[in-house]
Symmetry: C2
Subunit: 450 residues, 2 copies
């Protein structure tokens, strides 16, 4: 049976199974969801067993468990390691969801739920593609699955666990579906992603909130100070002002910039996807390049003083912000975090104090375009879409890929099927059925062309 | 009986009565406290009746009730109107209180509770001074009391109520104890206060929180934008950059600046009172002048994006701040609010949108130093302290005074007995017993020297 037919015959079951996964609130940002992480891991192991792996196990780590499964076909055949993650971003702010984030529904040709795409939906495609290949006796490679539960908090426990399980994970290629395509019209493949450095800062002034009348105009307001400091972190041309920030940034050749710049860009459509806003970025680069090949700094959250309804006339004693930087080759996350912390201390106004807490981070990576993995994915997508996929670099981070690449000496291939419209990390996350089915199809063909 | 002796004999009862007032959480910033406002007003009326007024009534307004009471001595005698307020600032952040804000205790020679000083404690001194004068048959003036319940939210309902009750309020002088002294060593009298303009701003970008990886570096982050905008509101020399902000500011003569500059200033002691921080102010003026005769701008609160524990990699869709400006003669609060709103719109980055909500405001005022009211207060304090009081201008705002001055054609005198150490508007508000007793003494003598 051809894969298209197999999907058509089984899609109702696929939905039921995926929905069971999506109903589990496996939000890795909150400790209280620990039991959900285990429930979710068990469910995935169950699906893998049903799909035909030799064995599937829940592996303990320092944090949330990793699901590892394996199917041996032939000791002499190459081994492909499938990576995915079952944890999701927080669903907050809940009031902005049109449907319950943990009660999936199919509407307007898409699945709506937290994790529908990122990454339960995309990981699930691999289990179903594998199931098909087994059922039809078409699988010619050894396959391993490594589905983790801490990707959304930057995989703190995975690298140590992988180090301790190198043998178990030995493979030739790493196959991942946790990225987006540039558009549903243009098949495209992510050939690199950015690293991350996520910090939390506090600026403290006087020990207590004081009367804004008695002291207003005479003391440095810590909230105003934090605003001054944050404002100074990006200059008029969009450069991050942390000294040394750009020292290790790889400058691309004109040829590479051209190759990565093929995708047509329409500012209106780009902002339309997210409901407006303003374009702003580093001088000398295009919008696509801003997120693809250049690092950046953003405030993810800020708070301080009186924020309840009504008014309170105080000068707050302290102010806080969560600040993250996206990094590119060959910036080092730990080094950048240190540079930031040092700079932030340096720009703290005399008399005020500041603290920088390093939340987490990870490294960027790029994948070669001349690898057998890239070629297999290329052919698979070309056949399914009837059009050659465009290579591009993703702005997000899958920090484990750089680690795995280094540790396992294996080549990654990123076949992602998400779209900007999916609103991952936002309220009302969704995943187009069209892309969900295309994904399963492309993955089966990847194995065939490999 | 002399007032000193009367206080000594009755202080335990004074404490019991005051504590009953302090136990009522009359926080005017929260609608749910409406019933507490009435309970508090009733309690004050009850104390006034017991002290010997002819009548005390709870007067409805558009907002919280005003307590009005009157004692007629002689139609030909001058009439003094005592102004105070029974509402208090929010107690939040509660976790910083060493004791329950609404369960007063006496510790280290002070009363600790929200409102111990501002203004329940200080208003209560007037009731007790009046009680003494009546009991001793020493009162020679007609006295009226107007104790309101919205001072901490800038008295929105009082002015309209006063307009409607001009006759009832007719008086020659207005006596107020709602200010601080420069130090417990130096008796001092507030001869003016600043006006206020309090606003809330919102900056909006894209319609939803988006993935900080997918969009980071390419779009203008609304939180970064708000920080840029706030940072631009005060220039390097400490000037507020809102066009027209200083147009109506009264420049003082060297003589007046000298007169108001008598009080010795010790930066270490000044910051010591509030537990550190940094001095910062408009170039060309002293710290005392920054809060006394110059206007300013402060952020009272800021919020946006992900502020819960942990990390979330988003670019927030919007950011918010509460911003207040303290004003001096002859700035007009409504005009300044409009200038700010216009400027804030103007500096909103293209593609982003902003909203400015005007919370409330009020005008500044100054009191003459050659009035009979000032002279009576001066003599009273000189006698009680054995030292001449120093005139100064307060940084805070009692917006109703400017209104009352205009409406009733009466001269105000501010005899306040608070101290910086009292932490009004902060956690752990307190009121020194020494100042509480001095206050009652000074007020009785004010009537005698009037």
């Amino acid at each position: 049976m051809e894969i298209k037919e197999y999907i058509e015959k089984n899609k109702e079951r696929f939905f039921e199974e995926l929905f069971e996964l999506l109903r589990i609130p496996s939000d890795s940002s909150k400790p209280e969801h620990k039991p959900d992480m285990y429930r979710c891991a068990e469910k995935i192991a169950e699906y893998l067993r049903a799909a035909g792996v030799d064995k599937a196990e829940i592996c303990e780590t320092a944090g949330n468990p990793v699901v590892f499964a394996e199917k041996k076909i032939d000791p002499k055949a190459p081994t492909i390691l499938v990576y995915g993650h079952y944890d999701v971003q927080p669903a907050e702010p809940l009031e902005l969801w049109k449907t319950n984030p943990y009660e999936p529904v199919i509407k307007d040709g898409a699945i709506w739920a937290r994790g529908a795409n990122d990454d339960k939906g995309q990981s699930f495609m691999h289990i179903k593609a594998f199931e098909y290949l087994i059922k039809e006796g078409k699988l010619r490679q050894n396959v391993k699955f490594m589905i983790e539960g801490e990707e959304e908090i930057s995989s703190p426990s995975l690298a140590p666990w992988m180090k301790a399980n190198k043998k178990k994970l030995a493979c030739d290629s790493i196959l991942i579906s946790d990225t987006t395509q540039l558009s549903e019209k243009f098949p495209s493949m992510c050939t690199g992603m950015r690293g991350l450095s996520y910090l939390e800062v506090t600026v403290k002034g006087q020990a207590i909130d004081v009367h804004s009348g008695h002291y207003g105009g005479a003391i440095y307001n810590p909230v105003n100070a934090l605003c001054d400091m944050i404002s100074s972190l990006i200059d008029k041309e969009g450069h991050v002002t942390v000294p040394g920030f750009y020292d290790d940034v790889a400058e691309l050749s004109r040829k590479d910039r051209k190759l990565l710049g093929q995708m047509p860009f329409d500012a209106e459509e780009y902002l339309g996807c997210i409901g407006g806003g303003a374009l702003k970025g580093e001088k000398g680069y295009t919008t696509r390049e801003h997120t693809a090949i250049r690092p950046c700094l953003d405030v993810n959250g800020i708070w301080g003083g009186f924020t309840a309804p009504g008014s309170k006339t105080i000068i707050p004693s302290e102010a806080h912000a969560k600040i993250s930087m996206r990094l590119v080759p060959y910036q080092d996350s730990a080094k950048i975090s240190k540079l930031f912390a040092k700079h932030f201390k340096k720009i703290t106004p005399k008399g005020l104090t500041s603290e920088v807490m390093i939340h987490h981070g990870g490294e960027s990576f790029v994948t070669p375009l001349d690898s057998k993995e890239y070629r297999a994915a290329f052919k698979a997508m070309k056949e399914v879409y009837g059009m050659e996929p465009i290579p591009y670099r993703g702005g997000g981070s899958i920090t484990v890929i750089a680690e795995a690449q280094k540790m396992l000496k294996a080549t990654p291939a990123l076949m992602g099927f998400g779209l900007d419209r999916d609103a991952i990390h936002s309220p009302n996350e969704s995943y187009l059925l069209l892309q969900f089915f295309r994904g399963i199809e492309c993955i089966t063909k990847f194995y065939q062309y490999y």
